[in-house]
Symmetry: C2
Subunit: 717 residues, 2 copies
């Protein structure tokens, strides 16, 4: 379900949600022990300037607010309903409120689809009834929301500072956790949206809205799962927004048990985490792997400029930290290359004769006399070597010896901070600071952050921050992604299930997948004739219906270079199959051109709950499953989506130019995936189609085996 | 260099270091601005009860302490010297102090081997002179040390609480960082040893000593590198100690640039991190990957019992945290399996009808009324399902709503803590707590830790804590590791460099490595005769001296099943080689039995700076390098060391029973590695020997290709 069929435009209901003039708290009780009063007080404490009405058991007033006793008597100008009625009453009351013209409801109430069964059906009916009356829903099972620029706060959280960060989350506790963490990072908030069951307003509508919101500079996302089939619309919205401002996401439910905890659907268990990683990558979203990284990475993306290359200079004080910091930066995929001779000379003028002039710079002591030494050495790098793209500063900044500086110190930690910040502003090169004390809420760090420098007490996180800035730059430097539209070829086959490998190959050849020349043969003699017609060398395979791993029975013979060998091979196959499956097991032979032993590639497509269908690429061959190096590619595939997918393979170097063989052509791979996707679409019962291996023959891709999987069957990888 | 040749026994000098009765501060100045006074005051503030003497410029006293003006006048009962003389004076003075009978010196002074060159030579001479006079050294470039049970503290850090944690570190800043972090974790300290340049006393002597120290329950280690060749002695010491108490280590300098930062040696760059991981695994050391994990993982290992299986029950409050916590536990290699029917029923009696009865338990609210609900639900799991091995508790414990509990609450956070701790004590099942506030130094968490429950504000860390406890249990359940001694076979070849593949095979066959039958042939006709003598099918390879990748030239033909095919193949190879290398490129043929296309295994040995020699195992074949899935195995190899190595491969399932083929026999692999190691030992100039691929033929290992690498050549993987 998306907004296209709605009688209320997106703009209207999102405006009503984010900038309401009239809010109704529905299910209000004046009892101060009940939550209604708490939410009302919270909303007023936030300074909300519009009208607040209440819907409760008996008409009257609470403080200055009118209490209505019936939904049918409500005024017609309500923008936003905050619903606290129990699950038993909500489906009846909300449509009646909608009928009075209310535009959007935030349904705090739990007990709907998250319980499954009948409660899920009740949710569907409720959404339909509200939409029929022109009202859209957030939730149900929504943990609350706020939009601080409009002084709207319907959470239990008071006193959060205003700032540039918006959080869209499926969990309220994640919100509470990040609100607490934000104090340590000196971060303020614009919006929090608890999307709950995502019954109506799609999550990506919030992202679209926040993308245009001038008060929001970065969007953080905690997502356990999208509703069925919303993957591509989500991607399209995030693509638009991520060109304007960064989006950072954590996927919850990345393991089978984690997904059970999230009570998400169970479709395509084995690689949901890969599906979302591919979805995020193609959407321009920076993915984090741990909850504790979500806020810091969001922070770094709004405080710092993107990093335009991989080269990091590390500047600070202290041996262990410099070594570990260098490890972390390199393990995060960046480089810590040596300084130029010119820079080394400059460094030497400032360090004792015995000190190394390398990257990282370790100034050893001195900063307790002058905390601006960090900025001075950073500036020295900038002045003498233009090849660096970003900086990690490190040291016992801020609270070493309880923050005590030497007598006659030149700067304080606080006054040194803007000196460093100015370098980042002037050069456009990002700077991140590591100090073990950085989360201890101290003016030293607040001053750094005010100057635009994020500070972390965690070298791994500092390195991941630089890597996120690099990822952001790469995303922004790309042409806006445009999925290639592949016209469905005129498919000359019905959706009949292919019975054998040869059938499967024929079906796929019809949609333009390239195979070696191949022919079926009934007998050894027939196989020889086929081989002569195809041309030597050939591969001979036994056709054994229902058998998955032919090579295990010796039913595959390769490199047959003349007639006699084919004849011998045919006899050997008959013998092998007879022993294992019985003399009637062999229904014939498949003779195929032998394209040699090149790189073996895995190319497959399969249906997916979130995205409709996805592609899978990776290391192919007999041991593909055991090697387990495959990754998800979004469909329709484009050269860029193929590149993003292959880049994440551990075997990525194998698909570049390798031992004299050319690099895989991403366009050709995308084309093959899209053709397989078309075939998948044409076969309704089919869950997956795999070509394994696809031989990389020079610059061509040749599928040398193909299989269609139906329903309960599990594809190989 | 190790202690065996010393005239002072280990026990004596380590006792003098850890429990000195008389300490000399050498290089002391009474100037209160100088560091000497600071260290003296620190030592006295720590309550040191023995004698403190001083060696300075002019004789006299400082406070009650006698100042000697000459080393030659020192009394004969000095246990420990803390040396603060500059690098220019130290090499002269220390041996003179040693001559007076001092047992051990901690050399704070920098400017020795860490600078390389002549300063390294000066260090060597100083060590030799001190040892000749019976004194051993810690450092130089030692950032200080303390042993709090004996009230000895020679660091700048005052006021650390006494406790069970010892840290052995190559970096002082790592010490400062962990001392600060320990306050957040309520951890106390026994010892800190800054080993500095490790010029004399080997690091593992400290580990041995602390292993016997009743005041130390866990040893944390920050290590940038061991001196040349100390790997095996380090492993042997850590093996002994790790059966008595846990050791946790972080390796600094895991990347090439990180190692440059650590100024460590540059030998065997590409896999030093793998070498140390293997070394740690075989030593029973738990390795952490990030500095910020070193202390928490040390903590969990001393507070909690080892975890005797993989099954984790997750119990707490809040949706997002339960989902992410489940992900983290599973991603850490453990399981979060469903509850038994009996436990589900029990859970149902305590939760609302709609709430799921799954693992993880989400009690939703309630704990602000009774914080002991965490313990109650944990106890419920214990009572109704005995299949779980450990627990993760999670929730907004301690500081939710600034720590305010509901009116009429049953427990406080503080009083609920021992209820939970008692479950761990009673059952021997470890429990770790996640709360986002856990590092905020609050009595709620101190109470939990006092009750034996570690608490972290990081779900990843909590999961890694459980995984560390699991690793510890597996280590303790194993038979004490005993490296198999492989007798060097009577090697019937000189250390001559093998010129061709056939030479290499012959050399290795002589030490018992199995190869397919193979013969050399001069001509096509000769090759046919050889093939007939070997038996078909055969593989034919062109012998092209100096050529690495024969298959790229079409110089390898497999599956040749009769004479005619061999003849044809020989002609094709001659043709291919002539085109690429010229007609004289081919010096002959190698005919070998074709053992089929099984699993291709990589087996190699190579010299290593730290360990003398190491083994390498992994995915073999033409694409071994591109797939890049190899790992280090310590030598001499044992079935267990092979198992530890293979377990870390991404392809680990490939080496178990796979598609009807039996699992690799670890004993056979160990035997092969040890035979290769013997060959390596016999060839002094040789840096590596590789068999790639080794075919896994049934239960046999057959090397089908072999190469010796010399000096500057880089082995393939």
């Amino acid at each position: 379900m998306n907004g296209s069929g709605s009688i209320v435009s997106n703009v209207t209901y999102l405006e009503a949600l984010y900038r309401p003039r009239h809010i109704l708290i529905a299910g209000f009780s004046s009892d101060p022990k009940k939550a209604g009063v708490r939410f009302l007080e919270g909303l007023k404490a936030q300074g909300f300037g519009g009208t607040i009405s209440l819907l409760g058991r008996s008409a009257g007033t609470h403080e200055t607010h009118r209490i209505y006793a019936s939904a049918d008597e409500l005024p017609g100008d309500i923008d936003l309903v905050f619903n606290m009625y129990p699950a038993s009453a909500t489906p009846d009351i909300l449509p009646r409120i909608a009928a009075r013209g209310a535009k959007v409801a935030v349904v705090f109430t739990s007990g709907f689809a998250e319980q499954g069964g009948e409660a899920g059906e009740a949710q569907k009916r409720m959404v339909a009834a509200c939409r029929a009356n022109g009202m859209r829903l957030v939730g149900p099972n929504c943990p609350g929301y706020f939009y601080l620029p409009a002084h709207v706060n319907l959470t239990s959280q008071a006193g959060l500072p205003l700032g540039p960060l918006a959080l869209v989350s499926q969990s309220g506790n994640v919100g509470i956790t990040l609100w607490d963490q934000s104090r340590m990072l000196d971060i303020g908030w614009s919006a929090f949206v608890g999307v709950g069951n995502q019954s109506d307003i799609p999550l990506y509508d919030h992202i679209d809205y926040l993308g245009d919101d001038p008060n929001t500079k970065v969007i953080a996302l905690y997502l356990e799962g999208l509703p069925e089939g919303q993957g591509r619309a989500f991607r399209d919205a995030c693509r638009r927004v991520s060109r304007k401002k960064p989006i950072v996401a954590l996927k919850g439910g990345r393991t089978a048990a984690g997904r059970r905890a999230a009570q998400s659907h169970t479709a395509s268990l084995s690689s949901e985490s890969q599906v979302y990683s591919a979805l995020f990558a193609e959407s321009g979203i920076v993915e984090v792997k741990h909850l504790e990284h979500l806020l810091p990475i969001a922070e770094v993306l709004y405080r710092c400029p993107p990093m335009k290359g991989d080269r990091v200079a590390i500047v600070g004080s202290g041996g262990g930290h410099s070594t570990i910091g260098t490890d972390e930066v390199e393990l995060a995929g960046l480089e810590v290359p040596e300084f130029s001779a010119r820079l080394q000379q400059a460094v030497a003028t400032r360090l004792p004769a015995y000190a190394p002039r390398r990257n990282p710079i370790d100034m050893t002591g001195g900063f307790t006399k002058d905390p601006s030494l960090f900025a001075q050495f950073t500036q020295m790098v900038v002045d003498h070597d233009e090849s660096y793209h970003g900086f990690l500063n490190y040291g016992l900044y801020g609270l070493y010896r309880q923050g005590k500086l030497d007598d006659g110190h030149v700067h304080t930690y606080e006054s040194a901070a803007p000196v460093l910040g100015a370098i980042q502003d002037r050069t456009g090169l990002p700077i991140i600071f590591y100090s073990p004390y950085a989360y201890q809420q101290h003016t030293s760090f607040t001053a750094l952050r005010d100057a635009g420098i994020p500070c972390y007490p965690d070298l791994n996180l500092a390195a991941l921050g630089l890597a996120a800035l690099r990822e952001r730059a790469i995303h922004l430097m790309r042409e806006p992604m445009q999925a290639e539209r592949v016209l469905s070829p005129d498919i000359p086959f019905g959706p009949k299930r292919p019975g054998t490998e040869a059938d499967a190959a024929r079906v796929l050849a019809n949609v333009g997948v390239k195979f070696p020349r191949m022919m079926l043969a009934d007998s050894a003699e027939d196989a020889v004739r086929s081989a002569e017609s195809i041309g030597f060398p050939v591969v001979l395979k036994g056709v054994v219906p229902g058998l998955q791993h032919k090579s295990d029975l010796g039913a595959v013979k390769i490199g047959l270079s003349d007639a006699r060998m084919v004849e011998q091979a045919a006899r050997d196959i008959l013998h092998g199959v007879s022993i294992h499956v019985g003399p009637k097991g062999l229904s014939g032979y498949l003779v195929a051109q032998d394209v040699g032993r090149g790189r073996e590639f895995f190319v497959g497509v399969r249906r997916d709950f979130t995205c409709g269908a996805i592609g899978v690429l990776g290391v192919g061959g007999v041991y593909a499953e055991a090697i387990g190096d495959t990754n998800v590619c979004m469909l329709p595939a484009s050269p860029l989506s193929v590149e993003l997918c292959l880049n994440k393979l551990r075997s990525k170097h194998m698909w570049l130019e390798f031992r004299g063989e050319p690099a895989l052509d991403h366009g050709q791979v995308a084309d093959l995936l899209n053709r397989l996707a078309n075939a998948l679409e044409a076969h309704p019962g089919c869950t997956a189609i795999e070509c394994n291996p696809v031989m990389v023959v020079g610059s061509e891709l040749m599928a040398v085996d193909a299989a269609f999987y139906y329903d309960e069957e599990r594809p190989g990888a």
